[in-house]
Amino acid sequence: MSSSTSSLEERYRQLGLTDGEYARIIERLGRAPGDVELAMLSLMWSEHCGYKHSRRLLRRLPNDGPHVLMGPGENAGVVDVGGGLAVAFKVESHNHPSAVEPFQGAATGVGGILRDVFAVGARPIAVLDSLRFGEPRSSERSRYLLDRAVAGIGHYGNSIGVPTVGGEIYFEGSYEQNCLVNAMCLGLAPHSRLIRSAAAGPGNVVVLLGALTGRDGIGGASVLASAELVGSEGGDQAKRPSVQIGDPFTEKKLLECCLELLDRELLVSLQDLGAAGLTSAASEMASKGGVSVRLDVGRVPLREPGMEPFEIMVSESQERMLCVVEPERVADVLGVCERWEILATTIGCVADGDSFQVLDAGVVIADLPVSVLVDDCPLYDLEPVPFAGALYEAPAAVLTGSETPAETLLALLRSPNLASRHPVFEQYDPIVQSRTVRRPDEADAAVLMLPDSSAIAVSIDGNGRRVACDPRRGAMEAVYECSANLACVGAEPLGLTNCLNFGNPEKPHVAWQLVEAVEGLALACEQLGVPVVGGNVSLYNEAPTGPIFPTPVVGMVGKLPHAEAAGRLGFTLAGDAIALVGPFEPSAVGSELSKLRGLPPVGELPVADAARIRVAHQAVRSRVRSGAFHSAHDVAEGGVAVALAECCIAAGLGASVLLPNGLDPFGEAPGRAFIVSGPREALAPFVVIGEVGGDALTIDGLLEVPLSELRDARDAGLREWV
């Protein structure tokens, strides 16, 4: 916009505003906005900040629950975990920045979600990552993105001392040109330290904490997050100048500093700086508090000379926080910051009213009603049209269908979507902070011990291929599967967060995917009684060939009374009986096997009987807690055969089973059923299908594969690409 030659239309269009939106701005203001105002409005009214196409939809999600302390609207959702402690959590996308520069994009994605969590006063205690890339076999770029994104997540999490305890990765052609990098963070806080972002107290001081402000991600929110990447001239070329560099060292000091400020009760409110930087942070704080803010850009410490006021107002420089402080506490605040070597600058104040004023050397350069910035952003109704036919290309066939069951099982274990994630998780520190009772691969959910030796469990899930087949049921399955994962370790769900990764919502069939998926999430949450306490939306994830698979990613947090009773997925004892628990009517639709056979993601997913699912999850949860079950593992991708193989590999023990008549060994119906093991008496009420022992997996009348072959196949699948 500094290109003063360009006409007004060009300018606001470059900033991502439509003619209608610009007209609305003039109507609301009763005048034309100045340059700085235009920059601020264009970002606050971007999809990323304004939720133009999703806000109405999100109201459908249930967010009340007995344990909910803070729901959507705050930087992170917060649930009570007893003992005077609360857990804050949120998942957020950093898809487009990661597609431009995967290492820094993924790293700053982690940095951003950590700030959302300590912004509410919680100490980050765990990170999970949810990743989607194109096929590693056929796409060198996808291998590069995988390698760099994983390195970036590890770099930030490992360096700042927050364990990365879990995650998920899928490889599908539809993500080839639009990878997904979602990061989830959990934090722990005493109730007394929880804080909201609402500014309050006219006369109070606004203090900026952390890194210097540079020209990072100028216009990032509207250019990076809300436009179709590939649409722009030369793809990522156009985005190059705005790459943000993460500095976990500064964030570590910022985190410790903020928590000490809160422990000493020195702050009125706290807010992270994310998309749209100061503009978004300050206007959200003012809006929530029903007050005015006045900021002086001249006071903001800069990393680069000659930055224009609008650049300072929208800069997305990382590792910064904004807080409101009572005047008499400012000195103490600056003292704490100095001890932590954190730059702290008073840049403005809170006042009565509804105005966001920006001053430069005493001169007012922007004066906008907070309500116009935050509330008047147009909300668009979606125009969903169900999509008939195949929206996505059929994947390349790896199997012909003529393979033996044994060959099929090995192919599934070797497929990148199912293979061992070890080569990835090995690059993450899962144990720092000494709470980790279950590491990746030990159980279906990560388990973190609390001071009173109870524990919380967390899992993240979202199989886009199944949602592509059937957006509503696919989204429901994501919720079922998270709950099933928690049940496997003995945990009861407390709440969930979600990230809606979709294509261009202005396209009717994408709108339909979005509406159906949100409806599915809402239904499943109601069925299982799990409130949605937060989340994030990432739209316009498109390639010229079309949208990504609709990918709602669900992160669920639960609680178990005794950490030492946490379940494991691997069999534990030769001679134990094996049972199949839960209502299980799997089908080939949307299954990994159908993909390996080259079938496109179409067809109806199996219906789910919510009541019976609840009963099954409860049965597993209670018996894992009591120790009646020695192991529990939910049946997901690859069906019963793969689930059994995973239980064997994790244990280093074989098994021999006889499957119920007519049960498709590779059919899928995620979140419904479990493979459990234990003493025969304990399993008596369930469908006992076999016994643990030997050094091979034998499925009567179907296959017999030595343990070593199973392990080698599962280990090789991803290793060859990482």
Partner: protein, 75 residues
Amino acid sequence: MRARVLVRPKAGILDPQGQAVERALPALGFDGVSNVHVGRLIELDVEDPERLPEMCERLLTNPLIEDYEIVASAQ
């Protein structure tokens, strides 16, 4: 020919390493040091120096965040 590629963070891009060094030096009694940047040095024997720029763009540097400079090596 022995060549050197000097790789440095693009102007204006955050350089935490440079900042860390700049903060550390005064504490050791080294004053009067400023504008510190830390980058990478790549030294290599190359038969066809013509191709060096291309190598830099494609592999040796990350053009998104780094600038580079090719110098014929002293040796």
